[in-house]
């Protein structure tokens, strides 16, 4: 009662309005995805072949592409972020931590397209000359998605680590633990939940990213078996198909793809919240 009366009426109206708009967008996407699914039984949306000319609109290669790309990018990015965190929290020399923090802050401000651009001219040729092929591959996209995710993941992880470190450093020191022992045996285990929820958020971001997969993954609607092969993600698929003008089955498949992405990110953010909510207060 106290808190509701302390927020001005216009603020409540605005937040209600924004909430309603968001809810209707979500509802629209989910309903059209459902409708597409029901109407398009003959289009085999969960089939393995995408070939609009043959009237085959299978999304399975894209679902597969999205999942393996975001998982691999997450695995790489999460390990890198953890390494960065440990460096920031005193495992590395101080000057390195300072440089790292500055560059991470700087990296958060770089637009995604710059990452893509840099990779096209730097990373892709390296992959091409080292392993053959075109270089536009699962590997190129995964590396850049991982790098792009590192700053945000590191800074969220580090927030949790720092608060636990501050709460416990004197206790650990009084027991005779060295700062490194303190970090590895007390701070990291105690921040398990945050490490996990930052991984979930990183996964959600990697799954939702469109530009990097479009620019780097090669976009072949196929089941990539090796990191050097090309793949297409759901997001890239939506972007590409929409821009070439789509109708009928193509359009319906896009609505379904959007619905799948939305459901996935809803699950991710709900899980992340449930995890963070259960932890001790930071």
């Amino acid at each position: 009662m106290f808190s509701s009366s302390s927020s001005p009426p216009w603020l409540r109206t605005v937040s209600l309005g924004v909430g309603a708009i968001l809810a209707s967008v979500f509802a629209f996407i989910l309903f059209s995805a459902l409708a597409a699914l029901l109407r398009g039984v003959e289009w085999e949306f969960f089939g393995a072949v995408w070939s609009p000319r043959e009237e085959k609109f299978g999304l399975l290669p894209m679902i597969y592409g999205s999942l393996i790309l975001s998982f691999s990018a997450l695995a790489l990015g999460w390990v890198l972020s953890l390494g960065c965190c440990c460096t920031l929290r005193g495992l590395g020399p101080r000057w390195l931590a300072k440089i790292l923090l500055t560059s991470l802050r700087f990296m958060t401000a770089i637009p995604t397209v710059v990452y893509g651009f840099a990779a096209v001219f730097l990373l892709v040729p390296v992959i091409r000359s080292a392993f053959g092929g075109s270089g536009f591959s699962w590997l190129a996209a995964a590396v850049m998605l991982a790098l792009q995710g590192v700053p945000a993941m590191t800074l969220t992880m580090d927030g949790a680590l720092q608060s636990i470190e501050e709460q416990t450093s004197l206790t650990a020191a009084a027991l005779g633990l060295t700062p490194v022992q303190h970090l590895t045996w007390v701070v990291l285990p105690a921040s398990k939940k945050w490490l996990l929820s930052s991984a979930l958020l990183g996964y959600g971001r990697a799954l939702g990213d469109t530009l990097l997969p479009i620019m780097l993954a090669g976009n072949a609607p196929q089941f990539a078996a090796s990191p050097l092969e090309s793949l297409r993600t759901l997001t890239a698929h939506i972007g590409l198909t929409l821009s070439t003008g789509a109708g009928g089955g193509e359009r319906s498949s896009l609505l379904l793809a959007g619905g799948l992405l939305l459901v996935n990110s809803m699950i991710v953010s709900l899980t992340a919240r449930a995890l963070a909510g259960r932890g001790p207060a930071a």
């Binding site: 009084a174 027991l175 005779g176 045996w185 105690a190």
Partner: protein, 252 residues
């Protein structure tokens, strides 16, 4: 008189503020010495200069000499000839003003320092943990939930856990910084009884805000006034009852 800690002209400042101003004192072995003083007089700082915990803070500067008697040898607290930091802190256990369990399970709170600092792992570690928990009367209360978070214990239980954690590392000196100040009466009494039972095996330096508690437990008293401390007062020289209060109040 044998002493466990000897401080000479000990001064400590943080930044430009001098907290301890030339403390001279010898704390006796295997006795309870109670540190009395106003809030902010530097009692915690004095305890922390014995296990070098002040060094964890920014702006710390220390002068003078301190020596500890550990393992039958008198050594400087810091500088050449001193013990490695983690061994010093293992031998000089500390219990803080408010309970400070690590955000781990009850068992891990004791097992982890045992493994990392004392090198006792596996069964050896578990035995040492059990012994320490029994010593503080906590074993029966927690033996079936050692893997639950330490934060699930009550304040008094947490403080006994912290005491057990220090005892498990087989210290010779115990620094107790107002160990009962954040507890209710009954839990505080419990800790007092514990301290009383430990007094013959450990050299105990204890800060207390309560004069009656100090009188119940102390063999000696040290009175810190605005960062200075000179000598000890044996319990026998302290007047009894209400007189003691005015006597101490005059000294503070």
């Amino acid at each position: 008189m044998e002493f466990c800690v000897s401080l000479r002209d000990l001064s400590v400042s943080f930044g430009s503020r001098q907290i301890l101003k030339g403390v001279n004192v010898d704390f006796p072995c295997r006795k309870v010495t109670v540190l009395l003083g106003r809030s902010g007089s530097g009692k915690t700082t004095l305890l922390r200069s014995i296990n070098r915990l002040n060094e964890s803070f920014d702006g710390y500067r220390g002068y003078g000499t301190g020596r500890v008697f550990l393992d039958g040898v008198l050594r400087p607290i810091s500088g050449s000839g001193s013990l490695p930091l983690s061994i010093l802190r293992r031998k000089v256990g500390m219990v803080f003003q408010s309970p400070n369990p690590l955000p781990l399970s009850i068992g891990k709170n004791i097992l982890l320092p045992l493994a990392l600092v004392a090198g006792k792992e596996g069964e050896e570690g578990k035995d040492a943990m059990k012994k320490a928990l029994e010593e503080v009367g906590l074993w029966r209360e927690v033996s079936d939930r050692l893997d639950r978070p330490a934060s699930s214990l009550s304040g008094g239980q947490q403080q006994r856990l912290c005491l057990a954690r220090a005892l498990a590392l087989t210290p010779e000196i115990l620094l107790l910084d107002e160990p009962t100040s954040s507890l209710d009466r009954a839990a505080g009494r419990r800790i007092e009884e514990l301290i009383f039972s430990l007094r013959e095996r450990y050299s105990i330096l204890m800060v207390s805000h309560s004069l009656s508690q100090a009188q119940r437990l102390g063999d000696y008293f040290a009175i810190l006034t605005e960062g200075t401390l000179n000598g000890l007062l044996p319990a026998s020289e302290l007047p009894h009852g209400a007189e003691a209060e005015t006597f101490i109040a005059n000294l503070l």
